[in-house]
Symmetry: C3
Subunit: 327 residues, 3 copies
Amino acid sequence: MTEATVAALADLVGGRVQGDGDRLVRGLCDLRAGAQDRLGFVRHAKYLPLAKTTAAGAVLAAEPVDTPATLLLVDDVHVAYARISSFFHPPPRASEHQIHPSAVVDPRAELIAPVRIGPNAVVGNCRIGRGTVVFPNVTIGDGCVLGEDCTIYANVAIYDGVRLGNRVIVHSGSVLGSDGFGFAQSKDGWLKVPQLGGVVLEDDVELQAGVLVDRGALGDTRIGRGTKLDNACHVAHNVQIGRDVVMAAGCFLAGSAKIGDRCVFGGDVGVVGHIEVGADVRIGGGSMVFKDLVEPGEYMGHPLLPMRQYARLAKTLRRFGESGGAS
Amino acid sequence: MTEATVAALADLVGGRVQGDGDRLVRGLCDLRAGAQDRLGFVRHAKYLPLAKTTAAGAVLAAEPVDTPATLLLVDDVHVAYARISSFFHPPPRASEHQIHPSAVVDPRAELIAPVRIGPNAVVGNCRIGRGTVVFPNVTIGDGCVLGEDCTIYANVAIYDGVRLGNRVIVHSGSVLGSDGFGFAQSKDGWLKVPQLGGVVLEDDVELQAGVLVDRGALGDTRIGRGTKLDNACHVAHNVQIGRDVVMAAGCFLAGSAKIGDRCVFGGDVGVVGHIEVGADVRIGGGSMVFKDLVEPGEYMGHPLLPMRQYARLAKTLRRFGESGGAS
Amino acid sequence: MTEATVAALADLVGGRVQGDGDRLVRGLCDLRAGAQDRLGFVRHAKYLPLAKTTAAGAVLAAEPVDTPATLLLVDDVHVAYARISSFFHPPPRASEHQIHPSAVVDPRAELIAPVRIGPNAVVGNCRIGRGTVVFPNVTIGDGCVLGEDCTIYANVAIYDGVRLGNRVIVHSGSVLGSDGFGFAQSKDGWLKVPQLGGVVLEDDVELQAGVLVDRGALGDTRIGRGTKLDNACHVAHNVQIGRDVVMAAGCFLAGSAKIGDRCVFGGDVGVVGHIEVGADVRIGGGSMVFKDLVEPGEYMGHPLLPMRQYARLAKTLRRFGESGGAS
């Protein structure tokens, strides 16, 4: 079982200890469900009374609190919580080389040991870096490159020629590299335009369940380093997403849309094709982006408005609902 | 082949027979495509003329109709239809113990016979109740508990530690227990917050295709007894859905949202994180819920309004479209 | 490697050659990245300068351009591009009969050689036409019929009794034939209404990744010849989609909706149950269709309006956001 002293955890998160730094911690806990080898945490002032009576052996907080436990003081409790919890619960990594006998792996594939390939997974002629775990019933095509310490959860489908950096996590039901939606209208109906590009996920990208990322038409569809997409996001061909972007569930980015670094989207935000959204733009849930959006700031609605204007519009619309209109 | 007399079906649905109760029925039919061993049904007055000339041997109706067939009279035709059709076409159940030789089942798994595990399914160290059917290419992780008479259709992915009650049905492409979307913003980018809770689906829950249910951050994500979610619904971490709720396709519930018993949502309804929707609330398709909603009733829109106000607003907006505004 | 003379390609697309028709072409290229055996293309006037200096051996254009390359002149560059690119990059087809030993195929299945069944696929008692390719980890139920030259990508799930025409393409994560969302409200909660119909995809249908098509309640859910649905579209039970329809990602069609031939929908368009949309209707992204829509034309919004009225309404709403309402 993973364990560490409070002093070691303080080193990990750049915090300082008040009390017994040698106390051993074996996991996190809710303050109400504490134990001597657990670290509780105070994220809001309303939890201060719980700190006073907790059975947790240590408590994480942003400032000194009244508690019998050893205190671990940090600048940002949420960030420290994330680091400590990830220390106790790291993503799955391969520590020994295990190819399940029911997996079907192309003999030309280059697996840099240790790699773990789960039961009934199918792996084409590709390259997989050390530490990477491929769960059961995953399909990986030919010509793919997966970096080190990636986690590909069960039943993911990865087409030919998809490239993943290091520490990429892809959750179940996601699809990488399926054809972009390209058709030419002719007198014989819609003609398929072959999709010849690839998909690139840079280091530390995480895709939640059911995320669909199409391959590019000629170039690559690309998701930048550290970007996280929630369940059921759709990324069309040639889309370019910057670094450290966060999108909540159900966002859909049409073909060749370009999203700048550090953008934050709420759920179900749509971006029309060939639109460019600049860096540091925040968009509220359920919005549609029909025009380029360069100015950093917060936006919402359909039509999309700066947040303050959206709030004013919403108030006006509510009034129309109550009174029956502007007349 | 399953068969029953009209009298036996009347017992099943609490109805009464007019005519020959001993007539054998082997299935349901459209009144136009009747046969002597089939039961037709009259759900709307417009079908009354068809009852008069049908070749069906029996007819289900809410009141006496002019027909040569045996009549089965019930209070609610739709409910009786559901019960009788389910009698003839029950969900798949395991009647003999069958583990396909290509399935990979952890030797520590506890399968209460009879259970059926399909080809190329992968089952971890978990417990599966009698009668349950696991279709091909399903993945089930460690520490899961599946109750009796469950049906897990092809290519479903169930992560570790997910618990299902009895008679739960999960359709293809659904994912249970993937990580919730939890990240802490730091100077080094977004840090993953490990998701340590589980997922609980109570008895008689049915999830259609492509439903995504995330595991809780610390506690469980929970879906209450008898609730039915249509295709492509998204249920984020820590969401609590009550009993007998119905949501049409594409609804998305953000983290820690709480939905009361017997709510009915149209398609593509979004609920923002930490919002509470009370019991018996009905929300029209395409709406967004940004605030707590305690009062039972019908709502719609974005901003969300009581249905009558929404209708008034929609009328006003249409007028603006026609005339160019309120000026 | 596939190759053809410019003259042969001209025959393929009904174009005419200016320059050396015997020049061999082995693929397409961007004008900037040309090579002597590649065909570049000019789709916009802004690319004319590139044509002048390209290293491509041949150039596709709608009218004579200044270039050292052999010219291939056509009426519609996009259509010719689609045909030529598909000549060099056809969809996967089975040229020899290959059933991977890890696939589980019902011995009663009728596979018309040559057919390719990938590793760990599971195929029930069904009929599959010549040329069809089934990728790894696909599940196909009993009683299905797949035509000739179909492509079923990895991890697709096809339930019992689904019928596909010829040249149908289904991308990963898609589900065909899962139960429609049918329940009857009773004093004992929601009772399942068994879904007894099927799913029919006519010739040349293409479904992108994560498309969900439910089986009909009694009759079939049907998608007409040549129709293309983008990622994550949802097609409920009994829906009838006409021919040569195109829907962008995330469209959701509720039960028994009927969509006419040649309709074009933007992303995330919703259609309410039992609604009929006539032929040649175009609907902008993010719209909801609550009423029958017979008149051909372009529509948008929620409420849905003719495009010109929508534009007027959007302008009015923006004004409200800026000024705070109509007063």
